[in-house]
């Protein structure tokens, strides 16, 4: 049954990637930004029309779009994502390196926001309509309407500029390479961007957990437990917790797309050299191979999140585990 589940998911992923690849190729090809201009950049005046033609020919820009797409898709299928024009390096190695830098940021923010959001949601749900609940809700609603980059800027001003506790930029001290920096230095640089991301990321999971907790506390099993003399705290921890935890974990895995988008903005504020910042550079400087590579990579990233959510649901929830054929 688990193999069938995996097969269906793999098939879906392949279809999805094909669709996303086709659509993004069409979008990029219809862009009025000329790839040769974008590549040449400031040297535009010093380059002759002949040289431009040579570049265009080498990149196959003189061919019709359909043929270009065919060749590109063929190369992609064999794992060749092309060479990034701004880094002059294979796209996959750029993405790999940058993603590792981003990964720690996203992992820290993801776990922080998950744990805190779940805790706050439980508290708010258990103390429904108290002052505490109202403040938690107000916080969550405010954060849902607050742009990530602005929170980052405020934190940057308070903790880096005014107090000087955290560095102003980058993922490691300037002048050092990633390998030379100590773990403590890396963590020190990581802290503020990660907190920015979690402050925003808490909102959704808190509100969701709160709803589910209230629902669980009104259920028959909770009322029965209360009739037997169980306290509210006892009900929350011994009865409601498990029922609330599962949808929360699912939601947290399904929010990887939001996390990625948040990372793009946070990395821009803190000049953190991760995949998010690379995405912005690729978009602004017209690095088409890199941009397409990142689009596909982030699609797989989001898909993995949703896949994990489904998988955990099926593995953990006894109702789904027992129902035959429920895995699909």
């Amino acid at each position: 049954m688990i193999t069938q589940f995996l097969l269906v998911k793999t098939f879906r992923l392949i279809l999805l990637i094909a669709a996303v690849a086709t659509l993004s190729f069409v979008l990029v090809s219809s862009s009025p930004v000329d790839p040769v201009d974008a590549y040449v950049g400031a040297a535009m005046l010093r380059i002759s029309p002949d040289q431009r033609e040579v570049i265009a020919k080498r990149w196959g820009l003189d061919r019709p779009p359909v043929e270009r797409f065919g060749r590109w898709a063929g190369q992609m299928a064999t794992g060749n994502f092309g060479v990034s024009t701004i880094f002059n390096e294979p796209v996959l190695s750029v993405i790999g390196k940058r993603f590792i830098t981003s990964f720690w940021l996203m992992a820290l923010a993801w776990s922080l926001s998950g744990a805190l959001g779940f805790g706050l949601g439980l508290i708010a749900g258990a103390r429904e309509d108290t002052l505490l609940d109202r403040s938690i809700r107000l916080y969550a609603y405010t954060m849902a309407s607050t742009p990530t980059f602005w929170v980052g800027m405020i934190l940057l001003m308070i903790f880096s500029v005014s107090l000087g506790w955290t560095p102003v930029c980058c993922a490691w001290p300037p002048g050092l390479s990633a390998e030379q920096a100590t773990l403590w230095q890396r963590l020190h640089h990581l802290l503020l961007p990660a907190i920015t991301l979690s402050l925003i990321g808490i909102a959704q999971i808190t509100l969701h957990t709160r709803e589910k907790t209230i629902e669980a506390l009104r259920s028959d099993y909770s009322i029965f437990a209360r009739a037997q003399g169980e306290s509210t705290i006892g009900i929350v921890f011994r009865r409601a917790l498990r029922n609330v935890a599962l949808p929360a974990v699912t939601l947290q895995f399904a929010s990887l797309g939001e996390l990625f988008g948040g990372a793009v903005l946070a990395e821009q504020v803190f000049a953190y050299p991760g995949l998010g910042r690379t995405t912005v550079e690729a978009g602004i400087r017209g690095d088409i191979p890199l941009l397409l590579g990142i689009v596909l990579f982030s699609t797989i990233f989001v898909f993995t999140g949703n896949f994990m959510a489904d998988l955990i649901y099926h593995l953990v929830d006894p109702r789904l585990r027992k129902a035959t054929g429920a895995i699909s």
Binding site: Y141, V264, I294, V295, F301, F303
Partner: protein, 278 residues
């Protein structure tokens, strides 16, 4: 429980919230119009002033009044939000109705389109579309407008699907009413509230995404300061301690987005017969 004689019922309260929001938004548009060119006027004698009586939001490094710039930036944000949310909501309405009423193949196609539209992180999709449009203000509007429909499409599709299996629709069929008549007289009244609420709740998303996109440097020239552009510019002056450049415009953006959120949720409560009388 004592009943406060001054407490308003939900309907009146919602109406007042809606009125308040409308006043706020007209104030922004009116303010932007009254300020005219003032946000662009440079006055080097009044450079880098912190907030005070004469300039509530302070002035920037060229002596431009940040309050005027913020109001004008908000107006542009609201315009982008309005255009983008309307486009997305109309797309969602058409696709959702088509998916639910035009047979299995269309349904599968629309559901698939929604999946594809939500497959990449939203911001990456925005960057991609903005790049495809060649950047600029046009790129931002098209990107935000063309990427917000999947969630609402699903809601509308589910709503109509549910309606289709209800008894009174089946009865209407048996009575010989044409599909078009049923769509007009039975589906539309149900979908319009969903559509309106969806439209209002798309607004904050559209505004925030547009601000994010301009913050990253896509679109919007420095001459038409959108809030995202203002904040991106203020980044350069953060280390010199000019905190007011970032705080005030950002707060204004958060408040506008929240107002739309409150507005949308209140309208939803008002339009839903289940919560109307609470």
């Amino acid at each position: 429980m004592t009943i406060n004689p001054l407490a308003l019922d939900r309907r009146t309260r919602t109406m007042m919230v809606i009125l308040g929001c409308l006043i706020l938004f007209s104030a922004i548009f009116l303010g932007a119009w009254l300020y005219g060119e003032q946000g662009q006027v440079t006055n080097l004698a009044l450079r880098k002033l912190p907030p005070g009586w004469d300039q509530p939001f302070g002035t920037d490094w060229l002596g431009r009044d940040m309050f005027a710039r913020t109001i004008k930036g908000l107006r542009i944000s609201l315009e982008i939000g309005l255009a983008a949310a309307t486009c997305s909501a109309v797309i969602a309405l058409l696709l959702g109705l088509a998916a639910a009423t035009m047979g299995r193949i269309v349904d599968v196609a629309v559901t698939w389109l929604c999946d594809v539209g939500m497959a990449t992180p939203h911001l990456v999709l925005l960057i991609l579309i903005s790049f495809a449009c060649g950047g600029g203000a046009k790129g931002v509007i098209i990107a935000v407008a063309a990427s917000h429909w999947p969630a609402l499409t699903r809601v509308i599709r589910a709503e109509v699907m549910q309606l289709r299996t209800s008894d009174y629709i089946k009865l209407s069929h048996r009575l010989g009413k044409s599909p078009a008549w049923i769509a007009r007289h039975h589906f539309l009244p149900h979908v319009v509230p969903q559509f309106l609420v969806g439209l209002l709740l798309l607004f904050p998303h559209a505004i925030l995404h547009a601000a994010g996109l301009t913050f990253l440097g896509f679109g919007m020239s420095p001459h038409t300061p959108e809030i995202g552009t203002l904040l991106a510019e203020s980044m350069r002056y953060l280390t010199t301690g000019m905190w007011w450049l970032a705080v005030a415009p950002g707060l204004a953006l958060v408040l506008s987005a929240m107002t739309f959120d409150v507005l949308g949720n209140n309208v939803r409560a008002l339009l839903d017969p289940k919560t109307l009388r609470e």
